[in-house]
């Protein structure tokens, strides 16, 4: 019986980590192109609200998932236009995206507060795999959106390190001038990957409103977008390591939730809720120190606009 408690806790960690994982993988892809998009939180919120609206009106959560990705992808496209074409400051533009997304999602979602979804994403046991002891219940009795990440993460890793476009992407992020000289279209690569990154952030938001806690609440992401940005550094811009980090945070997140439900006194809950944020700071400090020691780190051109004339 002792065993099953741990299995349940780990399974909960995966579910709670999945929205962060989507967003973190998306941000890794965007940052690999040399574009720092701090609008993840805003894009997640817009994804959450548009996905919820679409799913509530059509009773089709898959459609909600797609709409969420399109909406956040559109926001990312605006971000790309500002930072890549108009060369605006990436830090401040990302903040603007988050502030605008927070406001926009609150504005659009107002009539949907307290509305229940007709159909949500439900866990589907994978035949065969779900019967494996311990691993089965942890990994293979989840909803379809979790399974997508099992494919997405290795796919993103393979794309980055073992394909030609992935190599071009990393070149653009490290040294856009050199990539340009080799005939890579720096602007197109940046646009494309910022938009893909935004779509994944929206997917993470939609996971929250369609599967994790099927509902819409203003600011329901509660800083998960920012945690995802921190995770990118922890993951040293590698999707496989982001998986680890996301599940770690998912574990803390679900632990807080479980403890809160278990303790009848409400006061310590404020301190429990601080845990993910404090953990983010600690992890970020440790990860940054490690990258400095090992001389690995951010893509060389991260957050620097590319200007052909200043090559």
């Amino acid at each position: 019986m002792e065993n099953s408690v741990w299995v349940a806790a780990l399974a909960a960690a995966i579910i709670a980590g999945t929205p962060i994982l989507y967003a973190a993988v998306g941000e890794i892809i965007a940052e690999r192109a040399g574009v720092l998009n701090l609008g993840v939180e805003g894009m997640m919120l817009v994804g959450a609200v548009t996905g919820f609206m679409a799913a509530a009106n059509t009773a089709n959560p898959w459609l909600g998932f797609v709409v969420a990705m399109l909406a956040s992808g559109a926001m990312a496209a605006v971000f790309a236009f500002l930072t890549v074409t108009l060369r605006s400051n990436q830090v401040v533009t990302g903040l603007a995206l988050t502030l605008f997304g927070t406001g926009l999602s609150g504005f659009m979602g107002k009539p949907y507060v307290g509305v229940a979804l007709p159909v949500t994403f439900k866990p589907v046991a994978v035949p065969g795999l779900s019967e494996i002891p311990v691993l089965g219940p942890i990994f293979f009795r989840n909803d379809p959106l979790v399974y997508i990440t099992y494919i997405l993460v290795p796919l993103a890793w393979y794309y980055l390190y073992h394909t030609r476009p992935g190599l071009n992407l990393r070149a653009v992020g490290e040294n856009p001038g050199a990539a340009d000289a080799l005939g890579v279209n720096v602007f197109a690569v940046r646009y494309l990957h910022v938009i893909i990154g935004g779509m994944l952030a929206g997917a993470g938001g939609a996971y929250l409103s369609l599967a994790y806690a099927p509902s819409w609440l203003e600011n329901m992401t509660a800083g998960r977008g920012w945690i995802a940005v921190a995770l990118v550094i922890f993951a040293v811009w590698n999707p496989l390591r982001a998986l680890l980090g996301a599940y770690l945070f998912g574990g803390v997140d679900s632990l807080v939730y479980t403890l809160q439900a278990a303790t009848s006194i409400s006061i310590p809950s404020f301190f429990l809720k601080m845990l993910p944020y404090i953990l983010t700071i600690i992890v970020l400090v440790l990860a940054t120190r490690q990258t400095v020691v090992k001389h690995i780190g951010a893509p060389g051109a991260l957050s620097i606009p590319y200007d052909r004339e200043e090559r």
């Binding site: 108009l86 504005f107 940005v229 970020l284």
Partner: protein
């Protein structure tokens, strides 16, 4: 080579520096109008009632000034950090810590007279806000830890900390179970202009703006801040201590946000309560950028955003969502950022002449 392209200006255009922010506000209102119309509101009517709510009466004007005070102070703090390219996104949390510190003084020493109480609240508020920023500044200075994320995470921690206090040990027993502390004594409240709610914090804001201007353009420290903001390499080459300046500037930045929190509890609410700031710390970021980080301009722009907040409250009775204002604020910043290229570059049409 191309038919349309950017051409770098030799000098940033002073004309565009004015046109872009003004046009941005207009375009953001236009975008907001589309969203309002799409959700069944008459945008013209909404904007008119917002304007009337914020400026149409003595009460409205007084409220706009009251809301402008925390925005000015916090935004001055944000702007000094941004000038050194320190992205302090934590004004919101520093505001809460300042409010917490000031409240601690007011509740712990209720018998102090005003001439001891208010300076003590002022100092403790500033110091706590400053230290909260330094928590992020030290890892940034020593190891280059991204301060955007740390300051932002600290916001959540500070808000939860204040919530713990006002829902727990500091809850007013006579407060009908609302999440707020007992009211302050008379000695712990800032004087107001008779007949309005405008309090002494306005003087704090204006003084801070003057002092900051003097520091930035008349002292060696200010010179260092500006040089580091322009080029860290040049500053280091000139022998400036970057690490120390990161910590000092972040302390100053956080102290100002903390002061905004102090002046809010002491001047407006006269107690600490849940949600004491409706996002002043975030609005302060937009104001700082819109004001091009200039103290005097920060003061002016703060009135605009305060008016937006007050106007937003006044149209909530029409059923306009509260989030409309934060959406408009975000949109304004978007357009400003997009338009900034026009101050540094000019659009050219036709074939560019290649001078070789």
């Amino acid at each position: 080579m191309t038919w349309i392209g950017w051409e770098k200006r030799l000098q940033p255009s002073p004309w565009m520096a004015v046109v872009v922010p003004v046009l941005s506000v207009v375009l953001a209102l236009g975008l907001g109008a589309i969203f309002l119309a799409a959700t069944g509101f008459d945008p013209w009517k909404v904007y008119l009632s917002m304007l009337k709510g914020a400026t149409g009466s003595k009460y409205g004007i007084s409220e706009t000034v009251v809301k402008a005070i925390p925005l000015m102070i916090a935004s001055l703090g944000v702007s000094v950090a941004f000038r050194m390219l320190l992205w302090n996104i934590g004004a919101e949390g520093q505001f809460y810590m300042g409010a917490f510190g000031a409240t601690w003084v007011a509740l712990t020493f209720p018998h102090w007279p005003a001439y001891v109480m208010l300076p003590a609240m002022f100092i403790v508020g500033c110091v706590l806000g400053g230290l909260w920023a330094v928590v992020a500044a030290i890892p940034r200075a020593r190891w280059g830890v991204n301060e955007v994320i740390t300051t932002l995470m600290l916001n959540y921690v500070a808000i939860l900390w204040v919530d713990y206090l006002v829902y727990g040990p500091w809850k007013d027993p006579q407060g009908y179970n609302f999440p707020l502390t007992a009211p302050f004594t008379e000695a712990a409240t800032l004087a107001t202009i008779p007949g309005t709610r405008v309090h002494l914090g306005l003087l704090f804001a204006l003084t801070a703006a003057v002092l900051l201007t003097l520091i930035l353009w008349r002292t060696r420290w200010g010179y260092e801040i500006r040089v580091i903001g322009e080029s860290v390499k040049a500053a280091r080459y000139a022998g400036m201590n970057i690490e120390r300046n990161i910590i000092l500037v972040m302390f100053l930045s956080g102290a100002l946000a903390g002061l905004a929190g102090m002046s809010e509890v002491s001047g407006v609410t006269h107690r600490l309560q849940h949600g004491i700031s409706p996002g002043y710390g975030y609005t302060a970021i937009i104001i700082a950028w819109l004001a091009k980080l200039h103290p005097a301009t920060v003061i002016l722009v703060s009135f605009l955003f305060a008016g937006l907040i007050v106007g937003g409250y006044s149209v909530q009775t029409m059923g306009v969502p509260a989030a409309t204002v934060s959406m408009l604020q975000g949109a304004i910043l978007f357009f400003v950022l997009g338009g900034e290229i026009l101050t540094r570059y000019r659009l050219h049409f036709g074939r560019k002449e290649v001078a070789r």
